[in-house]
Each structure stands twice: as C-alpha cells, then as structure tokens.
Amino acid sequence: MQQEIEIAELRKLTELIKEKYDYDFKNYAMSSFKRRIKRIVELYKFKTIDSLIEKLESTPSFFEEFVSEITVNVTEMFRDPSFWSVLKEQIIPNILLNHNKLNVWHAGCSSGEEVISMTIMLEEMGVLDRSNIIATDIDTAIIDRAKKGTVSLKNMELNASNYERFEGKYTIDKYFQEQNGKAVFDPNLIRQVSFRKHDLVKGVVFSKFDLILCRNVMIYFNQTLQNDVLYKLHESLFRYGYLAIGSKESLIWCDIANKFIVVNNEEKVYKKIKD
C-alpha cells in the first residue's frame, strides 16, 4: 500500500475496535499509531485499510495479533543506566526506610527486560524477597514471552554494557544461560514477580504501590490520554510513592501535575505528595 493512510480511515478502524473488542486506540499518538497500522498492512499484505477493518470484524483471533503489532515492544535491560543508579542509591533505600515491603508496578512491561533488570538490582541489594512486583501489559503474547525470561542473544551486548554502566555487582553472564540463540535468565529471579494482562487505557486501578515504572509507555498516547492515565497512576500510588517515566517524557502538562514533586529531573522520577 503506497498511498497515505487517512485520518478518517484510522477513525473508522478505532471505532470498530472499540465497539467490537472494547479497546480504545482513539487517543494514541497519531504518527506512531499510523506507522504501526502501516506496518500491519504491509506485514499481512492488506490492500486497503478497509480490508484490515473487515478482517478485524470477521476474525476475533486476528485481534490478538493486531494488538501485538500495535504495541511497540522495543526495550532493553537497564535502559538509561544512570536512572537505575538513582533507583539503587536513592529511591529504593528511601522507600525501605519507612516500609518493610517494597511494592513495584511495571506498567507496560513489554517483553520483560525492565522487570529482569529490577529483579537483578533488588537481588544485588539483598531486598528482592521483601519485594512484590507486578508487571502488566496490554499484549498477552508479549507477557507470555516476558514470563519466560528470555532475551535474544543479539541484544545482550547492549544489555551487558548498560549493566556495566549501571555498575552492577557482577557481570550480566552470571544471571543467564545460553540456549538456542537466547539468553535464558535464571527463573529464580522472577520469584517475586506476577505478570498479568492490563490495559492502562481501559483498565481499572487494582492495587497500590510504592514505586511505579511507566517509562516510554505514555509517549504512544496523546495528551488527553496521558492526562487520563496519570490519574490512574496517581491513584495507584501510596502517598509519597514514586513514579518513574522516560527521560524525555514530562508530566507538566497534566491536570494533576501539582500532586507530584520532581525528585530527580534528569531521570524523571516523581513523588506523589497529595492524594
């Protein structure tokens, strides 16, 4: 398909999905959403957006695949090593100063690289067994992958160098074994993690946390949706709990920005100060 995808076509598509599957992509950021749709159209060789719409209408099993393709699942372990250092040296110790338990939510966990990073860090800090970690994503297939704790070997060079810059205690090899071109991480690492399917857009608030990581997830939403999601994240935090977003994301445009203070501006860590 060579021609430009029209906004009217995207609207028709999101409306069908909302009606039939109760997922709402209406407020996804336009240019990345359009690129994802274009990718699906090319991948499955649809001739028009209408034929994609027809397929979604007639084949519910295709919808799962569609969701997997819509979500951006590019991630890395210890992305922004300096962020992880701030967690290790400042945020986690601060939480554990006042609490026995550490409740963490990875909102939009994708293939789990960030979750493994978290468990490695907490294990090295000796506090993993005091932690409860919930990892959620909208995409069931990617959660299944995350549960397996496997990472493609070709990504391990980058992951290893991030870990090194984070100044982990060992080398990353300690935590995985090579199997069929994959790095298979020690299943014992995720003993405190439970994975579940959850959609930030439609999902309800289901628990309270001391720390939420929602990094480079809301960039795929427009400002209206970012605003709505921030309400949910806020409600999901204990007072004085922490929220981490991506290094080039910002909360300042959101209605309830004043219910947070900036703890680390460089690494975009916020603290909830008001209910």
Partner: protein, 199 residues
C-alpha cells in the same frame, strides 16, 4: 532575481544529516539569525546511549538556543529542536512533537525518515526539507514524502559532502529542487529570512 524557490508560505524547516554533517550544520547554525522565524527540526544520527554533549557541541557556534524536545512539547516559532538520543522524533498535527522508541530504522534512532515523513504530513507544502552528508540512505524516503506533499526539497551538493551516500540516495528516489553547497544553503536561508520579514 533570486535563483531559489522562495516563498512566504513556508512554516518549518527539517534538516537531516549523518556522518560528515556536523561541520556544515554547525556552520549553518552559526549564521541563521537568532530571530529567524521558522521552527527548525534537526534529526542527526548520533550515539544512541550518550544523552549529553551533542546539544552542547552544536550550540557552541549557534546563534539560536538548541533544545531537545520532550514528548508532546508544543512547537514554537524561532526554535531549533534536536531529536534526542535513542528516540525517534515525529511532528504531530496540532503543532506538537512526539517521541517514540520504535525499532531502529536504517540502523538509527532517531531516524531521519521518521522526522521528515511526519513533518511532511503535518506541514504539507509548507515544509522545507534539507538532507546533508551521510553514509546511509536514511532520509531519502522522507524527502520523497516532502516532495509528494508539495514541500521544497534540498540536498547538500554530493560533490561537497564528506560522504555523499545520503544526498545521492535522495536524488535517486525523488525530485530535489535545489542541490546546494553549504554556503548556498546559508544564502537560501538568509534570503528566505529577508522575505519572511518583508511585508
């Protein structure tokens, strides 16, 4: 009479570059007046995991401040925006920018094609696209989109480019309005500046 396709309709400039583009872009930035009215988007290939230093290096000679935008930041006149490390930069309808962590394109994040293509969509025929020296074909498709939407396309003269792959790739896929040396690009921008200010 000018030899350039100047017009008052233009609303933004998007510049892409890779290997060998740092020097000419620094030179261009050292001449563009501080209050040149159009926003300028720079998408330059850079090390993915080095967040700091690039904006500072570009700023040394620039008359304008250079800023790496946050996701969903509004676009303002007179500003120069640089695609941040390890993010793609898109221009959205409604005068904002968005960032994304989608897969590498042409082995790059930020990818020039993404910035140019989204800008072409947002600005239609009111965009000027400039592609400088570089060692891969990133940006060629973006330039094609700009041309398709009626915008103005320009590449650094391959003869002058330290590495000509990038401008040549654009020349091979689409019609390029101006093939210019760095000094001529500067001349173009200064003439455009004069025109935009004239009543």
């Amino acid at each position: 009479m000018t030899r350039f396709k100047l017009s008052k309709k233009y609303k933004a400039i998007a510049i892409g570059g890779s290997a060998g583009s740092f020097q000419p872009i620094t030179k261009i930035l050292s001449v563009i007046p501080k209050d040149f009215p159009l926003p300028i988007f720079l998408c330059l290939h850079r090390l993915k995991h080095v967040r700091h230093g690039f904006v500072e290096a570009l700023s040394i000679k620039s008359l304008k401040p250079i800023h790496e935008p946050f996701d969903k930041e509004s676009i303002k006149r007179e500003q120069v925006y640089l695609a941040p490390a390890n993010y793609h930069l898109s221009i959205e309808l409604g005068n904002t920018m968005s960032l994304s962590t989608e897969r590498l394109i042409n082995n790059s994040r930020p990818a020039i094609d993404i910035t140019l293509e989204s800008a072409a969509y947002a600005y239609r025929d009111k965009l000027i696209g400039i592609l400088m020296s570089g060692a891969n074909k990133d940006g060629a498709l973006g330039m094609q989109k700009i041309k398709d939407r009626g915008g103005l396309t320009m590449v650094q003269d391959p003869e002058e480019s330290m590495i000509s792959t990038m401008p040549n790739s654009a020349l091979s896929v689409t019609e390029i309005d101006h093939v210019l040396k760095t000094d001529e690009i500067i001349e173009f921008i200064l003439e455009l500046d004069k025109m935009l200010r004239s009543s």
